[in-house]
Subunit: 159 residues, 2 copies
């Protein structure tokens, strides 16, 4: 195994373990639990679930793996804070999206070759990437992993 | 910049950004806020702060950078759940430890050379490491980073 293969494995393993940790939680919480605020006056579970799906969806264009699938979530779950938008998908709908998305992302990530992970992501120009080679696709996985664990730490309090 | 240097930068940048995010929070919360439960019946802020210091302290021997400095925290903050140990350091003492530790870890990490980050951590044998080269020092930083962001997501609810 080359060092590059090792690095891709380390970061993708951490992403997958973090998705699995959140997935176990998502599929163990009831729809009613998701409607609750995590702490008094704070975000509801449903908001964080929609937020994670929307953020993960935007990884696709960033990684040059296609366009978003759930663009209709952006307004309520990225551009707005919780409770600013009253018409939301149901928890059951969001759970179905989460479960479909996790399989879809895994398939797409599995298909990328080691060297492709070290290529630029689409929000950095070729010119800037030449100077800043750390702005690669693997870095997108890493920042989305810490974003995911941050919110998983919050969702766990719904139990 | 070699690919190995890029990978070390990506992971250490993410660790440092995560420490900074938590650090801003730790130093903005009052001692009284740290005594509160994050959500009803859940961990108190003081427990999570002590837990993070103790877990980060154990990175030193794992990375072969020396022995632990705050071993006295293990019983209350790693081996026991919150409220099982009644005699805890004060929040002011824990904050002082946090602030000292963040500088100390940064100095020690900065001194490690790129290739050393790809060497084995001390809880894996040379024999196992030959077969599992992903169990390197950089991987310790990565797993502690996601652990840190998980609990930072919780601490932020103390605000």
């Amino acid at each position: 195994m080359t060092t590059n293969q090792t690095m891709v494995k380390i970061i993708l393993d951490r992403w997958e373990a973090s998705v699995k940790q959140c997935d176990t939680l998502v599929n163990s919480l009831s729809d009613e639990q998701f409607q609750r605020e995590i702490a008094p006056g704070k975000n509801r579970g449903i908001y964080l679930l929609g937020h994670l799906i929307a953020v993960h969806d935007h990884m696709l264009p960033l990684l040059d793996l296609g366009s978003v699938n759930y663009g209709e979530l952006d307004k309520a779950f990225i551009e707005s804070p919780d409770k600013a938008v009253s018409e939301l998908p149901s928890v059951a709908e969001l759970k179905a999206m989460w479960n479909k998305q996790k399989e879809d992302l895994k398939q797409k990530f599995d298909r990328l070759k080691t060297e492709e992970w070290f290529g630029r992501h689409t929000s950095v120009s070729e010119e800037d990437f030449a100077k800043e080679p750390h702005r690669n696709k693997l870095n997108i996985i890493l920042t989305r992993t810490t974003h995911l664990t941050y919110h998983t730490g919050q969702l766990v309090y719904l139990k």
